[in-house]
Protein backbone atom coordinates (compact mmCIF):
# COMPACT_ATOMS: atom_id res chain seq x y z
CA UNK A 1 0.00 0.00 0.00
CA UNK A 2 2.84 2.33 0.90
CA UNK A 3 4.50 1.58 -2.45
CA UNK A 4 1.37 2.61 -4.34
CA UNK A 5 1.05 5.76 -2.22
CA UNK A 6 4.69 6.66 -2.95
CA UNK A 7 4.13 5.98 -6.63
CA UNK A 8 1.00 8.21 -6.64
CA UNK A 9 2.81 10.98 -4.76
CA UNK A 10 5.62 10.83 -7.30
CA UNK A 11 3.14 11.09 -10.17
CA UNK A 12 1.36 14.03 -8.52
CA UNK A 13 4.74 15.70 -7.85
CA UNK A 14 5.83 15.31 -11.47
CA UNK A 15 2.46 16.60 -12.74
CA UNK A 16 2.40 19.65 -10.47
CA UNK A 17 5.98 20.49 -11.41
CA UNK A 18 5.32 20.06 -15.15
CA UNK A 19 4.55 22.79 -17.65
CA UNK A 20 0.96 21.55 -17.89
CA UNK A 21 0.29 23.18 -14.52
CA UNK A 22 2.86 25.96 -14.28
CA UNK A 23 2.55 27.55 -17.75
CA UNK A 24 -0.17 30.08 -18.56
CA UNK A 25 -1.83 30.85 -21.90
CA UNK A 26 0.73 33.56 -22.74
CA UNK A 27 3.51 31.00 -22.68
CA UNK A 28 1.65 28.90 -25.22
CA UNK A 29 1.17 31.92 -27.50
CA UNK A 30 4.90 32.61 -27.30
CA UNK A 31 5.64 28.98 -28.16
CA UNK A 32 3.52 29.49 -31.28
CA UNK A 33 5.40 32.74 -32.06
CA UNK A 34 8.69 30.84 -31.69
CA UNK A 35 7.42 28.25 -34.18
CA UNK A 36 6.57 31.03 -36.67
CA UNK A 37 10.12 32.36 -36.25
CA UNK A 38 11.46 28.83 -36.86
CA UNK A 39 9.48 28.77 -40.10
CA UNK A 40 10.84 32.18 -41.18
CA UNK A 41 14.41 31.20 -40.28
CA UNK A 42 14.45 27.70 -41.75
CA UNK A 43 12.04 27.82 -44.66
CA UNK A 44 12.33 31.47 -45.68
CA UNK A 45 15.97 31.85 -44.54
CA UNK A 46 15.32 35.27 -42.96
CA UNK A 47 18.53 36.00 -41.00
CA UNK A 48 18.63 32.35 -39.87
CA UNK A 49 21.92 32.70 -37.98
CA UNK A 50 20.19 35.03 -35.53
CA UNK A 51 16.52 34.27 -35.86
CA UNK A 52 16.99 30.57 -35.14
CA UNK A 53 18.85 31.04 -31.81
CA UNK A 54 16.39 33.81 -30.84
CA UNK A 55 13.42 31.58 -31.61
CA UNK A 56 14.94 28.69 -29.68
CA UNK A 57 15.68 30.87 -26.66
CA UNK A 58 12.08 32.10 -26.81
CA UNK A 59 10.77 28.54 -27.02
CA UNK A 60 12.87 27.28 -24.15
CA UNK A 61 12.09 30.12 -21.74
CA UNK A 62 8.37 29.74 -22.34
CA UNK A 63 8.55 25.99 -21.77
CA UNK A 64 10.76 26.29 -18.71
CA UNK A 65 10.74 29.85 -17.29
CA UNK A 66 13.23 28.95 -14.55
CA UNK A 67 15.97 28.75 -17.17
CA UNK A 68 16.16 32.56 -16.78
CA UNK A 69 15.69 32.52 -13.00
CA UNK A 70 18.10 34.67 -11.03
CA UNK A 71 20.09 33.05 -8.21
CA UNK A 72 18.74 33.64 -4.72
CA UNK A 73 19.39 32.73 -1.12
CA UNK A 74 16.77 31.52 1.35
CA UNK A 75 17.09 31.45 5.10
CA UNK A 76 16.49 28.08 6.75
CA UNK A 77 16.74 27.05 10.35
CA UNK A 78 19.17 24.22 11.09
CA UNK A 79 16.29 21.81 11.68
CA UNK A 80 14.56 22.65 8.39
CA UNK A 81 17.84 22.59 6.54
CA UNK A 82 18.81 19.14 7.78
CA UNK A 83 15.30 17.89 7.03
CA UNK A 84 15.36 19.26 3.49
CA UNK A 85 18.97 18.78 2.50
CA UNK A 86 20.23 16.10 4.86
CA UNK A 87 22.95 18.39 6.23
CA UNK A 88 23.83 22.05 6.68
CA UNK A 89 26.63 21.58 4.11
CA UNK A 90 28.70 24.37 5.56
CA UNK A 91 26.27 27.13 4.51
CA UNK A 92 26.93 30.64 5.83
CA UNK A 93 24.80 31.53 8.84
CA UNK A 94 22.72 34.57 9.75
CA UNK A 95 21.38 35.24 13.22
CA UNK A 96 17.93 36.87 13.40
CA UNK A 97 16.27 37.57 16.78
CA UNK A 98 18.73 35.21 18.41
CA UNK A 99 17.88 32.32 16.06
CA UNK A 100 20.56 30.94 13.76
CA UNK A 101 19.59 30.51 10.11
CA UNK A 102 21.52 28.96 7.25
CA UNK A 103 21.83 30.83 3.93
CA UNK A 104 20.84 28.15 1.44
CA UNK A 105 21.81 29.18 -2.10
CA UNK A 106 19.60 28.46 -5.12
CA UNK A 107 21.56 28.74 -8.33
CA UNK A 108 20.18 30.63 -11.32
CA UNK A 109 19.06 29.10 -14.61
CA UNK A 110 21.49 28.49 -17.47
CA UNK A 111 20.30 31.45 -19.53
CA UNK A 112 20.51 33.77 -16.53
CA UNK A 113 24.28 33.39 -16.50
CA UNK A 114 24.65 33.55 -20.28
CA UNK A 115 22.41 36.64 -20.28
CA UNK A 116 24.91 38.56 -18.16
CA UNK A 117 26.91 39.10 -21.36
CA UNK A 118 23.92 40.98 -22.78
CA UNK A 119 23.00 42.74 -19.55
CA UNK A 120 26.53 43.98 -18.93
CA UNK A 121 26.96 45.10 -22.55
CA UNK A 122 29.67 42.53 -23.36
CA UNK A 123 28.27 40.61 -26.33
CA UNK A 124 27.35 43.49 -28.70
CA UNK A 125 30.90 44.96 -28.78
CA UNK A 126 32.29 41.44 -29.29
CA UNK A 127 29.93 40.96 -32.23
CA UNK A 128 31.22 44.29 -33.55
CA UNK A 129 34.76 42.92 -33.26
CA UNK A 130 33.81 40.11 -35.63
CA UNK A 131 31.90 42.47 -37.93
CA UNK A 132 34.96 44.73 -38.10
CA UNK A 133 37.18 41.76 -38.97
CA UNK A 134 34.82 40.85 -41.80
CA UNK A 135 34.26 44.34 -43.20
CA UNK A 136 36.13 45.93 -46.05
CA UNK A 137 36.01 49.71 -45.57
CA UNK A 138 37.69 50.19 -48.97
CA UNK A 139 34.55 51.49 -50.75
CA UNK A 140 34.00 54.02 -47.96
CA UNK A 141 37.64 55.18 -48.03
CA UNK A 142 37.50 55.45 -51.82
CA UNK A 143 34.34 57.55 -51.63
CA UNK A 144 34.11 59.20 -48.18
CA UNK A 145 31.02 61.15 -49.28
CA UNK A 146 29.19 57.88 -48.54
CA UNK A 147 29.25 59.02 -44.92
CA UNK A 148 26.51 61.54 -45.83
CA UNK A 149 24.20 58.69 -46.81
CA UNK A 150 25.19 56.75 -43.68
CA UNK A 151 24.24 59.81 -41.61
CA UNK A 152 20.99 60.49 -43.52
CA UNK A 153 19.72 56.98 -42.84
CA UNK A 154 19.99 57.64 -39.09
CA UNK A 155 17.38 60.42 -39.22
CA UNK A 156 14.70 57.73 -38.87
CA UNK A 157 16.01 56.99 -35.36
CA UNK A 158 15.33 60.50 -34.13
CA UNK A 159 11.98 60.88 -35.90
CA UNK A 160 10.82 57.59 -34.38
CA UNK A 161 11.93 58.90 -30.99
CA UNK A 162 9.28 61.62 -31.38
CA UNK A 163 6.62 59.06 -32.28
CA UNK A 164 7.53 56.93 -29.26
CA UNK A 165 7.35 59.93 -26.91
CA UNK A 166 3.86 60.78 -28.15
CA UNK A 167 2.78 57.13 -27.78
CA UNK A 168 3.53 57.34 -24.07
CA UNK A 169 7.02 55.87 -23.75
CA UNK A 170 9.52 57.49 -21.41
CA UNK A 171 12.39 59.32 -23.09
CA UNK A 172 14.81 56.44 -22.36
CA UNK A 173 12.35 53.89 -23.77
CA UNK A 174 11.74 56.11 -26.79
CA UNK A 175 15.49 56.27 -27.47
CA UNK A 176 15.76 52.48 -27.28
CA UNK A 177 12.80 52.10 -29.64
CA UNK A 178 14.16 54.64 -32.11
CA UNK A 179 17.48 52.82 -32.43
CA UNK A 180 15.68 50.03 -34.31
CA UNK A 181 15.87 52.47 -37.25
CA UNK A 182 19.64 52.03 -37.27
CA UNK A 183 18.99 48.46 -38.49
CA UNK A 184 21.91 47.23 -36.48
CA UNK A 185 21.13 44.40 -34.06
CA UNK A 186 24.13 44.68 -31.70
CA UNK A 187 23.73 48.47 -31.47
CA UNK A 188 20.01 48.12 -30.73
CA UNK A 189 20.73 45.58 -27.99
CA UNK A 190 23.56 47.65 -26.54
CA UNK A 191 21.47 50.81 -26.34
CA UNK A 192 18.40 49.02 -24.99
CA UNK A 193 20.31 47.28 -22.19
CA UNK A 194 21.55 50.70 -21.08
CA UNK A 195 18.32 52.69 -21.56
CA UNK A 196 15.35 50.35 -21.22
CA UNK A 197 16.31 46.75 -20.35
CA UNK A 198 12.66 45.89 -19.74
CA UNK A 199 12.00 46.28 -23.48
CA UNK A 200 14.99 44.24 -24.65
CA UNK A 201 13.05 41.22 -25.93
CA UNK A 202 10.60 43.24 -28.01
CA UNK A 203 13.22 45.62 -29.40
CA UNK A 204 15.74 42.90 -30.30
CA UNK A 205 13.12 40.80 -32.02
CA UNK A 206 11.72 43.81 -33.90
CA UNK A 207 15.24 44.92 -34.94
CA UNK A 208 16.31 41.51 -36.21
CA UNK A 209 12.97 40.85 -37.89
CA UNK A 210 13.11 44.11 -39.81
CA UNK A 211 16.74 43.48 -40.75
CA UNK A 212 15.65 40.12 -42.12
CA UNK A 213 12.84 41.83 -44.02
CA UNK A 214 15.11 44.41 -45.70
CA UNK A 215 14.60 42.82 -49.17
CA UNK A 216 10.83 43.20 -48.73
CA UNK A 217 10.59 46.58 -46.96
CA UNK A 218 13.14 48.63 -48.91
CA UNK A 219 12.45 48.08 -52.65
CA UNK A 220 8.95 49.70 -52.72
CA UNK A 221 10.32 52.76 -50.87
CA UNK A 222 13.30 52.95 -53.24
CA UNK A 223 11.10 52.69 -56.33
CA UNK A 224 8.58 55.20 -55.00
CA UNK A 225 11.20 57.87 -54.35
CA UNK A 226 13.28 57.54 -57.52
CA UNK A 227 12.71 57.89 -61.23
CA UNK A 228 13.58 55.22 -63.79
CA UNK A 229 16.39 57.46 -65.08
CA UNK A 230 17.89 57.84 -61.60
CA UNK A 231 17.76 54.11 -60.93
CA UNK A 232 19.58 53.37 -64.17
CA UNK A 233 22.61 55.57 -63.38
CA UNK A 234 25.87 53.66 -63.83
CA UNK A 235 28.45 54.92 -61.34
CA UNK A 236 32.13 55.38 -62.09
CA UNK A 237 34.51 52.72 -60.86
CA UNK A 238 35.92 53.45 -57.40
CA UNK A 239 39.60 54.29 -57.06
CA UNK A 240 41.82 51.54 -55.65
CA UNK A 241 42.58 52.00 -51.96
CA UNK A 242 46.08 51.30 -50.68
CA UNK A 243 46.85 49.03 -47.76
CA UNK A 244 48.28 51.97 -45.83
CA UNK A 245 44.95 53.85 -46.07
CA UNK A 246 43.08 50.77 -44.87
CA UNK A 247 45.38 50.55 -41.84
CA UNK A 248 45.18 54.25 -40.99
CA UNK A 249 41.37 54.32 -41.37
CA UNK A 250 40.35 52.27 -38.26
CA UNK A 251 42.91 54.04 -36.10
CA UNK A 252 41.66 57.47 -37.23
CA UNK A 253 38.00 56.59 -36.75
CA UNK A 254 38.47 55.17 -33.26
CA UNK A 255 40.49 58.18 -32.12
CA UNK A 256 38.02 60.73 -33.50
CA UNK A 257 34.81 59.04 -32.36
CA UNK A 258 36.10 58.02 -28.94
CA UNK A 259 37.21 61.58 -28.23
CA UNK A 260 34.05 63.22 -29.55
CA UNK A 261 31.51 60.65 -28.32
CA UNK A 262 32.98 58.44 -25.58
CA UNK A 263 29.67 56.55 -25.19
CA UNK A 264 30.12 55.11 -28.67
CA UNK A 265 33.69 53.99 -27.92
CA UNK A 266 32.92 50.35 -26.91
CA UNK A 267 31.04 49.68 -30.15
CA UNK A 268 33.19 51.69 -32.56
CA UNK A 269 36.39 50.70 -30.74
CA UNK A 270 35.75 46.99 -31.12
CA UNK A 271 34.55 47.43 -34.70
CA UNK A 272 37.75 49.21 -35.63
CA UNK A 273 39.92 46.83 -33.61
CA UNK A 274 38.49 43.91 -35.59
CA UNK A 275 39.10 45.80 -38.81
CA UNK A 276 42.68 46.61 -37.86
CA UNK A 277 43.32 42.93 -37.09
CA UNK A 278 42.19 42.16 -40.64
CA UNK A 279 43.89 45.00 -42.47
CA UNK A 280 47.20 44.90 -40.63
CA UNK A 281 47.86 41.50 -42.16
CA UNK A 282 50.02 40.49 -39.20
CA UNK A 283 47.29 39.03 -36.97
CA UNK A 284 45.69 36.56 -39.32
CA UNK A 285 44.94 34.03 -36.57
CA UNK A 286 43.23 36.62 -34.39
CA UNK A 287 41.33 38.04 -37.34
CA UNK A 288 40.07 34.59 -38.33
CA UNK A 289 39.07 33.82 -34.73
CA UNK A 290 37.15 37.11 -34.47
CA UNK A 291 35.40 36.46 -37.79
CA UNK A 292 34.51 32.84 -37.17
CA UNK A 293 34.75 31.04 -33.83
CA UNK A 294 34.30 34.02 -31.51
CA UNK A 295 31.57 35.56 -33.66
CA UNK A 296 29.69 32.26 -33.86
CA UNK A 297 29.92 31.55 -30.13
CA UNK A 298 28.75 35.05 -29.21
CA UNK A 299 25.96 34.86 -31.78
CA UNK A 300 24.66 31.67 -30.14
CA UNK A 301 24.82 33.18 -26.62
CA UNK A 302 23.36 36.51 -27.72
CA UNK A 303 20.59 35.03 -29.82
CA UNK A 304 19.37 32.47 -27.32
CA UNK A 305 19.47 34.79 -24.32
CA UNK A 306 17.83 37.70 -26.14
CA UNK A 307 15.12 35.29 -27.24
CA UNK A 308 14.83 34.14 -23.65
CA UNK A 309 13.84 37.64 -22.54
CA UNK A 310 10.65 37.25 -24.59
CA UNK A 311 8.53 35.52 -22.00
CA UNK A 312 4.78 35.61 -22.40
CA UNK A 313 4.35 38.07 -19.53
CA UNK A 314 6.98 40.46 -20.95
CA UNK A 315 6.31 40.19 -24.65
CA UNK A 316 2.53 40.06 -24.91
CA UNK A 317 1.81 43.65 -24.06
CA UNK A 318 0.60 46.80 -25.77
CA UNK A 319 4.12 48.21 -25.69
CA UNK A 320 5.39 45.35 -27.90
CA UNK A 321 2.79 46.16 -30.55
CA UNK A 322 3.78 49.84 -30.37
CA UNK A 323 7.48 48.93 -30.63
CA UNK A 324 6.88 46.73 -33.67
CA UNK A 325 4.89 49.50 -35.38
CA UNK A 326 7.43 52.19 -34.45
CA UNK A 327 10.32 49.94 -35.54
CA UNK A 328 8.78 49.60 -38.98
CA UNK A 329 8.37 53.38 -39.20
CA UNK A 330 11.98 53.89 -38.05
CA UNK A 331 13.26 51.45 -40.62
CA UNK A 332 11.19 52.86 -43.47
CA UNK A 333 12.16 56.43 -42.54
CA UNK A 334 15.86 55.53 -42.43
CA UNK A 335 15.65 53.95 -45.88
CA UNK A 336 13.64 56.86 -47.28
CA UNK A 337 16.00 59.54 -45.95
CA UNK A 338 18.96 57.60 -47.33
CA UNK A 339 17.39 57.55 -50.79
CA UNK A 340 16.35 61.23 -50.55
CA UNK A 341 19.90 62.27 -49.68
CA UNK A 342 21.06 60.04 -52.54
CA UNK A 343 18.80 62.08 -54.81
CA UNK A 344 20.37 65.28 -53.52
CA UNK A 345 23.81 63.86 -54.30
CA UNK A 346 22.53 62.82 -57.73
CA UNK A 347 21.54 66.43 -58.45
CA UNK A 348 24.70 67.95 -56.99
CA UNK A 349 27.02 65.65 -58.93
CA UNK A 350 25.18 66.13 -62.20
CA UNK A 351 23.80 62.59 -62.25
CA UNK A 352 26.92 60.68 -61.25
CA UNK A 353 25.46 59.14 -58.07
CA UNK A 354 22.73 56.53 -58.23
CA UNK A 355 20.24 57.42 -55.42
CA UNK A 356 19.54 53.74 -54.83
CA UNK A 357 22.79 53.39 -52.88
CA UNK A 358 21.32 55.75 -50.23
CA UNK A 359 19.02 53.10 -48.80
CA UNK A 360 22.09 51.01 -47.94
CA UNK A 361 22.92 53.65 -45.31
CA UNK A 362 20.75 51.76 -42.84
CA UNK A 363 23.54 49.37 -41.75
CA UNK A 364 22.10 45.81 -42.18
CA UNK A 365 25.41 44.79 -43.76
CA UNK A 366 25.50 43.49 -46.46
CA UNK A 367 21.82 42.86 -47.06
CA UNK A 368 20.92 46.54 -47.68
CA UNK A 369 23.75 46.87 -50.23
CA UNK A 370 22.53 43.73 -52.00
CA UNK A 371 19.06 45.27 -52.22
CA UNK A 372 20.51 48.41 -53.87
CA UNK A 373 22.34 46.15 -56.33
CA UNK A 374 19.22 44.13 -57.09
CA UNK A 375 16.88 47.12 -57.58
CA UNK A 376 19.51 48.84 -59.75
CA UNK A 377 19.89 45.76 -61.90
CA UNK A 378 16.16 45.59 -62.48
CA UNK A 379 16.46 48.84 -64.48
CA UNK A 380 19.83 48.12 -66.05
CA UNK A 381 21.09 44.52 -65.98
CA UNK A 382 24.63 45.69 -66.75
CA UNK A 383 24.73 47.97 -63.70
CA UNK A 384 26.78 46.82 -60.71
CA UNK A 385 26.06 49.00 -57.69
CA UNK A 386 27.15 46.54 -55.02
CA UNK A 387 30.57 48.03 -54.24
CA UNK A 388 29.20 51.59 -54.44
CA UNK A 389 26.42 50.64 -52.00
CA UNK A 390 28.90 49.03 -49.61
CA UNK A 391 30.27 52.54 -48.89
CA UNK A 392 27.03 53.90 -47.37
CA UNK A 393 26.36 50.46 -45.89
CA UNK A 394 29.50 50.39 -43.73
CA UNK A 395 29.13 54.15 -43.12
CA UNK A 396 25.71 53.27 -41.70
CA UNK A 397 27.34 50.96 -39.14
CA UNK A 398 29.53 53.82 -37.96
CA UNK A 399 26.59 56.25 -38.22
CA UNK A 400 24.31 54.10 -36.07
CA UNK A 401 27.08 53.71 -33.46
CA UNK A 402 27.42 57.52 -33.42
CA UNK A 403 23.64 57.89 -33.08
CA UNK A 404 23.75 55.35 -30.23
CA UNK A 405 26.44 57.44 -28.56
CA UNK A 406 24.22 60.53 -28.83
CA UNK A 407 21.21 58.71 -27.35
CA UNK A 408 23.25 57.26 -24.48
CA UNK A 409 24.88 60.59 -23.75
CA UNK A 410 21.61 62.51 -23.67
CA UNK A 411 19.23 59.94 -22.17
CA UNK A 412 21.21 57.57 -19.91
Amino acid sequence: MEIIQNFWDALVGIFTGSGLVSLDWRNYIMIAVACVLFYLAIKKEFEPLLLLPIAFGMLLVNLYPDIMAAPETTLMSAEECIKAKGSTAGYATTILNGVEYYNVPHYGGLFYYLYQGVKLGIYPPLIFLGVGAMTDFGPLIANPKSFILGAAAQIGIFITFIGAIFLGFTSAQAGATGIIGGADGPTAIYVTTKLAPELLGSIAIAAYSYMALVPIIQPPIMRALTTKKERAVVMEQLRPVSKLEKIIFPITIVIVISILLPDAAPLVGMLMFGNLLKESGVCERLSKTAQNELMNIITIFLGTTVGATATGANFLSASTIKIIALGLIAFAMGSAFGVLFGKIMYKLTGGKVNPLIGSAGVSAVPMAARVSQRVGQEENPGNFLLMHAMGPNVAGVIGSAVAAGVLLNVLA
Binding site: I148, I157, F161, I253, A369
Partner: protein, 133 residues
Amino acid sequence: MDLMSKFTISASMLLTGFVIVFAVLFFLIFLIWLMGKVVTGAQNKAASRKAAKVAKEAQESTYKQPEKAAQPKLEAVKAVNPDGVSDELVAVISAAVYGMYGSSEKVKIKSIKKSKSRSAWANAGVLNNTRPF
Protein backbone atom coordinates in the same frame (compact mmCIF):
# COMPACT_ATOMS: atom_id res chain seq x y z
CA MET B 1 4.69 64.08 -19.29
CA ASP B 2 2.50 66.91 -20.59
CA LEU B 3 2.17 67.83 -24.26
CA MET B 4 4.52 70.79 -24.02
CA SER B 5 7.34 68.81 -22.40
CA LYS B 6 6.81 65.99 -24.96
CA PHE B 7 7.19 68.54 -27.73
CA THR B 8 10.25 70.10 -26.11
CA ILE B 9 12.10 66.83 -25.56
CA SER B 10 11.22 65.59 -29.06
CA ALA B 11 12.41 68.74 -30.79
CA SER B 12 15.62 68.95 -28.77
CA MET B 13 16.48 65.27 -29.41
CA LEU B 14 15.81 65.62 -33.15
CA LEU B 15 17.98 68.72 -33.35
CA THR B 16 20.78 67.29 -31.19
CA GLY B 17 20.84 63.94 -32.98
CA PHE B 18 20.68 65.44 -36.46
CA VAL B 19 23.38 68.03 -35.84
CA ILE B 20 25.82 65.78 -33.94
CA VAL B 21 25.54 62.76 -36.27
CA PHE B 22 26.03 64.93 -39.36
CA ALA B 23 28.78 67.03 -37.77
CA VAL B 24 30.78 63.95 -36.70
CA LEU B 25 30.34 62.21 -40.04
CA PHE B 26 31.17 65.37 -42.03
CA PHE B 27 34.32 65.70 -39.95
CA LEU B 28 35.14 62.08 -40.80
CA ILE B 29 34.56 62.78 -44.51
CA PHE B 30 37.11 65.58 -44.30
CA LEU B 31 39.60 63.41 -42.41
CA ILE B 32 39.29 60.44 -44.77
CA TRP B 33 39.52 62.73 -47.79
CA LEU B 34 42.63 64.34 -46.31
CA MET B 35 44.10 60.94 -45.48
CA GLY B 36 43.47 59.79 -49.07
CA LYS B 37 45.17 62.88 -50.49
CA VAL B 38 48.21 62.62 -48.21
CA VAL B 39 48.71 58.87 -48.59
CA THR B 40 48.07 58.81 -52.36
CA GLY B 41 50.33 61.84 -52.83
CA ALA B 42 53.13 60.27 -50.81
CA GLN B 43 52.77 56.95 -52.60
CA ASN B 44 52.71 58.58 -56.05
CA LYS B 45 55.81 60.53 -55.13
CA ALA B 46 57.57 57.38 -53.98
CA ALA B 47 56.48 55.53 -57.11
CA SER B 48 57.68 58.28 -59.46
CA ARG B 49 60.98 58.45 -57.58
CA LYS B 50 61.35 54.69 -57.98
CA ALA B 51 60.40 54.86 -61.68
CA ALA B 52 62.94 57.64 -62.26
CA LYS B 53 65.59 55.55 -60.54
CA VAL B 54 64.76 52.49 -62.66
CA ALA B 55 64.80 54.59 -65.85
CA LYS B 56 68.13 56.07 -64.88
CA GLU B 57 69.59 52.63 -64.23
CA ALA B 58 68.22 51.34 -67.54
CA GLN B 59 69.70 54.32 -69.36
CA GLU B 60 73.07 53.73 -67.74
CA SER B 61 73.03 50.01 -68.65
CA THR B 62 72.07 50.89 -72.27
CA TYR B 63 75.14 53.10 -72.53
CA LYS B 64 77.30 50.34 -71.11
CA GLN B 65 75.99 47.52 -73.37
CA PRO B 66 76.44 47.30 -77.12
CA GLU B 67 73.43 48.68 -79.07
CA LYS B 68 72.94 45.51 -81.08
CA ALA B 69 72.17 43.44 -77.99
CA ALA B 70 69.54 45.83 -76.66
CA GLN B 71 67.53 46.48 -79.84
CA PRO B 72 66.10 43.03 -80.69
CA LYS B 73 64.80 42.65 -77.12
CA LEU B 74 62.89 45.93 -77.28
CA GLU B 75 61.45 45.09 -80.69
CA ALA B 76 60.25 41.69 -79.52
CA VAL B 77 58.33 43.25 -76.65
CA LYS B 78 56.92 45.94 -78.89
CA ALA B 79 55.67 43.41 -81.43
CA VAL B 80 53.49 41.60 -78.92
CA ASN B 81 52.79 44.62 -76.78
CA PRO B 82 51.47 47.48 -78.88
CA ASP B 83 48.54 48.40 -76.67
CA GLY B 84 50.14 49.18 -73.33
CA VAL B 85 49.57 45.65 -71.98
CA SER B 86 52.17 44.81 -69.34
CA ASP B 87 54.84 42.19 -69.93
CA GLU B 88 53.53 40.13 -67.05
CA LEU B 89 50.08 39.98 -68.59
CA VAL B 90 51.56 38.93 -71.93
CA ALA B 91 53.46 36.18 -70.12
CA VAL B 92 50.32 35.02 -68.32
CA ILE B 93 48.24 34.92 -71.52
CA SER B 94 51.04 33.11 -73.38
CA ALA B 95 51.33 30.56 -70.59
CA ALA B 96 47.57 30.03 -70.61
CA VAL B 97 47.59 29.48 -74.39
CA TYR B 98 50.55 27.12 -74.05
CA GLY B 99 48.78 25.30 -71.23
CA MET B 100 45.71 24.86 -73.45
CA TYR B 101 47.40 23.73 -76.68
CA GLY B 102 50.75 22.37 -75.45
CA SER B 103 53.74 22.07 -77.76
CA SER B 104 52.04 19.63 -80.13
CA GLU B 105 50.19 22.35 -82.07
CA LYS B 106 51.76 25.36 -83.68
CA VAL B 107 50.07 28.38 -82.20
CA LYS B 108 51.29 31.93 -82.58
CA ILE B 109 50.13 34.95 -80.59
CA LYS B 110 50.07 37.83 -83.04
CA SER B 111 48.69 40.58 -80.86
CA ILE B 112 47.22 41.24 -77.45
CA LYS B 113 44.92 44.25 -77.17
CA LYS B 114 42.98 45.75 -74.29
CA SER B 115 39.24 45.67 -74.88
CA LYS B 116 37.67 49.13 -74.64
CA SER B 117 34.38 47.88 -73.22
CA ARG B 118 33.12 44.75 -71.53
CA SER B 119 31.98 42.17 -74.07
CA ALA B 120 28.61 40.48 -73.92
CA TRP B 121 30.31 37.31 -72.69
CA ALA B 122 32.18 39.18 -69.94
CA ASN B 123 28.95 40.90 -68.93
CA ALA B 124 27.20 37.55 -68.74
CA GLY B 125 30.06 36.23 -66.59
CA VAL B 126 29.95 39.14 -64.14
CA LEU B 127 26.18 38.90 -63.99
CA ASN B 128 26.40 35.21 -63.22
CA ASN B 129 28.95 35.77 -60.47
CA THR B 130 27.05 38.59 -58.79
CA ARG B 131 23.58 37.06 -59.08
CA PRO B 132 23.59 35.78 -55.48
CA PHE B 133 23.84 39.39 -54.35
